[in-house]
């Protein structure tokens, strides 16, 4: 029996399992960009405090550090592994491909991760307990370690989108994979925006301390944060333009045709709001208010980071890693350098249900009894990464995409001529044997005729033992 290395499938009806990653990832991006940006801003402020002999700045730093610890580090250090945990159950073979290529790079990041987490505690507890110069050194090593985690993760994220260069498939070189076309613009873009994010929450904290700080110190802090914030936005926009120019062809198509305006527009709006806020703060530091700065910070999450994560996830499609693993876990092209073979030919010949070890025996041979269920299993295995395949609400639902198609033959004609033979850049090619595509068509026609929504449960007429007996009489 031929098996391919598929894992048990997880199906989240309506919103799709990818939604789980998106939420966790957005929280993580928010927290981590706040922390990394803040680590550099605080080191800079501490230098200022030391050079200009303004010890009150340390009071501000201490407050900010506590805020970071409680809000950014707790949620950031948990949601970081959280992205990985959720990706493990959504895209096991995607994350596996990344880990098998980049394990040491991640291990290097881990060294910085430990430095970062221990240093944030150490900085907090030793502030005012060790001499200023020593503390300052710790603050700068903290800043660079934090930033170093970004140097590293950005290379891996960019590789997920694309290795950037055809060369990698034949060299397999880690350098080609990591320092891909997208790497520097991506790194610089994130680096710029993180100052705006950390600066915004920094203003909120400064506003809270307005009464406790001498006016000059307060103004100094607010102005410093605002200049960094303005710089972050301006450079961020520039690097964003560069970033877009390095995207692969398919991502441009997706960006134009698939990404809805309601994801793009809020990002532009929030950038303007944040910029205006910094300009106001730079001109009139006294006007900064907690009840303004903090909600803007929160809005960055909803209007900036979440849509950005959604878009980044979508323009990667139909792949999850390095342009060779599809969202539906199928390895779709050869990587000669690694001895990786495309699984598409085997699946087209033997059938997706046959080669997946977690499909019950009773579905592997399709007959009139199990056809609908086999079709449902195919839909879940092959399409549910991007579609709600059992309903007509939520994520690109089949109930809507196939509306009106109650005739299995019509569905079959559409699937073969479009998805199998002429698939669009944002979807993987439809794979499987002809009987399987017929079963999928039968299932889709069936669910449409049931009103576009059926239960996600898969019921197999025969147990595995019975099915095995049938095959070997």
């Amino acid at each position: 029996m031929d098996v391919l290395g598929f894992y048990p499938m997880w199906y989240v009806p309506v919103v799709g399992s990818g939604f789980v990653i998106a939420i966790i990832a957005a929280i993580h991006v928010m927290a981590s960009h706040t922390s990394v940006g803040a680590s550099i801003l605080l080191a800079y402020l501490a230098t200022k405090a030391y050079r200009e002999n303004q010890p009150q700045i340390y009071d501000y730093i201490k407050k900010y550090l506590l805020g970071l610890l409680v809000f950014s580090y707790v949620s950031g250090s948990i949601t970081g592994p959280g992205i990985w945990f959720s990706a493990t159950v959504v895209n096991p073979r995607g994350i596996s491909a990344l880990i098998h290529n980049f394990v040491w790079v991640w291990a290097a990041e881990w060294v910085w991760f430990i430095a970062e987490v221990t240093l944030v505690y150490i900085l907090f507890y030793t502030l005012g307990k060790i001499d200023q110069k020593s503390w300052l050194r710790l603050a700068w090593t903290f800043a660079i370690s934090s930033w170093a985690t970004m140097y590293i993760i950005v290379g891996i994220l960019s590789f997920m989108l694309s290795p950037g260069h055809e060369k990698w498939f034949t060299t397999g070189s880690i350098l080609d994979a990591f320092y891909n076309k997208n790497y520097f613009p991506h790194l610089l873009e994130r680096t710029s925006y993180m100052f705006a994010i950390a600066g915004t929450v920094g203003l909120a904290i400064a506003a809270l301390m307005k009464k406790d700080l001498p006016e000059k110190v307060y103004k100094d802090i607010v102005k410093t944060l605002s200049y960094w914030g303005i710089g972050g936005i301006v450079f961020g926009l520039m690097f964003f333009a560069w970033y877009v120019s390095t995207l692969p062809e398919r991502s441009h198509v997706i960006l134009e045709k698939v990404i809805p305006l309601y994801l793009k527009l809020p990002i532009m709006l929030i950038i303007l709001v944040v910029l205006a806020h910094f300009v106001l703060a730079a001109v009139r530091p006294q006007a900064v208010r907690f009840w303004m700065a903090y909600p803007i910070y929160a809005l960055i999450f909803f209007m900036g980071v979440y849509p950005e994560e959604k878009i980044r996830e979508t323009i990667r499609k139909p792949y999850v890693a390095g342009e060779f693993v599809w969202v539906n876990q199928i390895i779709s092209r050869d990587v000669p350098a690694k001895g990786i073979k495309s699984e598409v030919p085997v699946i087209d010949q033997k059938g997706l249900l046959t080669v997946n070890p977690f499909v019950p025996e009773g579905l592997k041979k399709i007959n009139s009894q199990n056809e609908i269920m086999a079709g449902k299993a195919i839909a879940i295995l092959q399409c549910s990464g991007c579609h709600n395949v059992t309903g007509s609400t939520g994520l690109r639902p089949f109930g809507q995409k196939f509306a009106g198609m109650t005739d299995p033959n019509a569905v079959y004609g559409f699937l073969t001529s479009y998805l199998r033979d002429n698939h669009p850049p944002y979807m993987p090619k439809l794979v499987g044997t002809d009987e399987e595509i017929k079963a999928l068509s039968a299932y889709i026609a069936h669910m449409i005729s049931k009103g576009g929504s059926v239960s996600a449960k898969i019921e197999v007429p025969n147990t595995s033992a019975e099915a095995k007996k049938e095959v070997q009489p």
């Binding site: 250090s77 430095a115 020593s134 660079i144 977690f358 879940i380 595995s464």
Partner: protein
């Protein structure tokens, strides 16, 4: 005649059983092989394995002090006496910092595990997908309860409530990771579990298929108390030299720690042995040297802790060492179980496909060395600051300043090399 037929049938039956088992082992073996990532491991699997075992041990030390610390906090808050109240706050602080460390240290074994045992880890996680995601959610909630307890530590009843909730969530988190680790050890059952014997596909991700209470107790609950007990001995030892600390209180805490470590250590040993008895016979684990070494480690550690009862501060470091050795032997035993289980199906990490590559291991090594310089400096300064009485400022010595300059230098150097290499590669490929 009747007997003959009976014997004949029995022979056929046993043949079917054995033959069936062979065929089945073949299926499971083929499945495991197919699941191993075709990209192969970028480095020798044995190195991954060693790192996995070592970093798991580090991870667990802080898992134990996270949970154990809360046990002491909760108990302490129920007591009226001032020293118990004080201890409750100290162990709360310990727990709070430990969770952070447990999390960051958990990342390393997670990485190495997934390189060499990807079939086990990914399958097991996907079998219980929602739980696997909830692991993160519960950890987040639990950790915020612990911070809540910390911020309300001057209101013991409130703080205790938060601590109780915190420890419950952490125990739940431990339960989930236990299930994932435990299910992973039974590849022969995965398909059966997932398909309910072929009747369906459990795509919902809400199922939990296996749990072993002795393993849970011996890998999580008892050691939490025992290890935290040893930490209390260290607490006694570390703060004794600080003149603004109350010696009687410290000695009392050290004694309490030593006593708790001893009683919990016995529970640990018993549950560990009971767990060993539940391991299926065909793994051959009961006769293995690794199994008995892990028991021996625990017995030795119990011995050291037993002899520490009189003077815990003096015996703090030896107890720490003995405990570390015991934990290391347990970590090796845990790994041995994976080897024993998968060997039944012909899976061996030593024959994992290799796509050897040296640059990224070099990056790791370089980063680790850089990191070690930085850790040494930072932890040393923290250690000194902690020994400085309240209200005083610690002035670094000449040598410490040099070490500080060195650590700033190596960190900046690392960044320059990392970015510099990137620039060269990008210019070469795209310039």
């Amino acid at each position: 005649m009747k007997d003959m037929i009976r014997w004949f049938l029995l022979f056929i039956l046993s043949f079917m059983l054995i033959g069936g088992k062979w065929a089945f082992a073949g299926d499971v073996g083929a499945m495991l092989k197919a699941m191993a990532d075709p990209a192969g491991a970028p480095f020798y699997p044995v190195v991954m394995q060693v790192l996995q075992v070592l970093t798991w041990m580090l991870h667990m030390i802080f898992v134990y002090t996270s949970i154990g610390g809360l046990f002491f906090t909760i108990y302490g808050f129920t007591k009226k006496e001032e020293r118990w109240q004080r201890l409750a706050k100290a162990t709360l602080e310990l727990s709070k910092v430990s969770v952070s460390l447990a999390i960051v240290l958990g990342v390393a074994p997670l990485l190495f595990y997934q390189v060499i045992y990807d079939p086990l880890w990914y399958t097991s996680a996907n079998l219980s997908a929602w739980w696997y995601v909830l692991f993160i959610v519960f950890l987040l909630i639990g950790y915020y309860f612990i911070w809540g307890a910390y911020f309300t530590k001057d209101k013991p009843s409130m703080s205790m409530l938060m601590s109780v909730l915190g420890v419950l969530f952490l125990l739940l988190v431990g339960f989930i990771i236990h299930v994932v680790n435990y299910q992973a050890l039974y590849p022969e059952k995965w398909v059966e579990w997932y398909t309910d014997g072929g009747r369906t596909m459990n795509i919902s991700g809400w199922n939990i298929y296996a749990f072993n209470v002795f393993r849970y107790l011996s890998f999580l609950v008892f050691p939490s108390i025992a290890v935290t007990g040893v930490f209390l001995m260290l607490y006694n030892w570390y703060f004794r030299s600080r003149e603004d600390m109350d010696k009687d209180y410290l000695d009392w805490a050290g004694k309490l720690g030593a006593r708790s470590a001893m009683y919990a250590g016995i529970g640990w040993l018993v549950s560990h042995i009971l767990y060993i008895f539940t391991i299926p016979a065909d793994w051959g684990a009961k006769g293995s040297i690794f199994t008995w070494l892990s028991v021996l480690g625990l017995v030795l550690c119990a011995g050291v802790v037993f002899s520490s009862q009189k003077n815990p501060a003096k015996m703090a470091i030896p107890s720490l060492l003995a405990g570390s050795v015991a934990l290391l032997l347990i970590a090796v035993f845990r790994e041995y179980l994976r080897v024993a289980s998968t060997a039944r199906f012909g899976y061996s990490i030593y024959s994992y496909k290799l796509n050897l590559e040296f640059l990224s291991p070099l990056l790791f090594l370089g980063t680790l060395l850089t990191g070690l310089v930085l850790y040494a400096y930072a932890w040393w300064m923290a250690y000194q600051a902690g020994k400085t009485p309240k209200g005083k400022v610690y002035e670094a010595s000449e040598t410490e300043h040099h070490l500080g300059d060195l650590s700033v230098f190596v960190v900046i150097l690392w960044a320059i090399v990392f970015i510099g290499v990137g620039l060269i590669v990008v210019v070469r490929n795209y310039g």
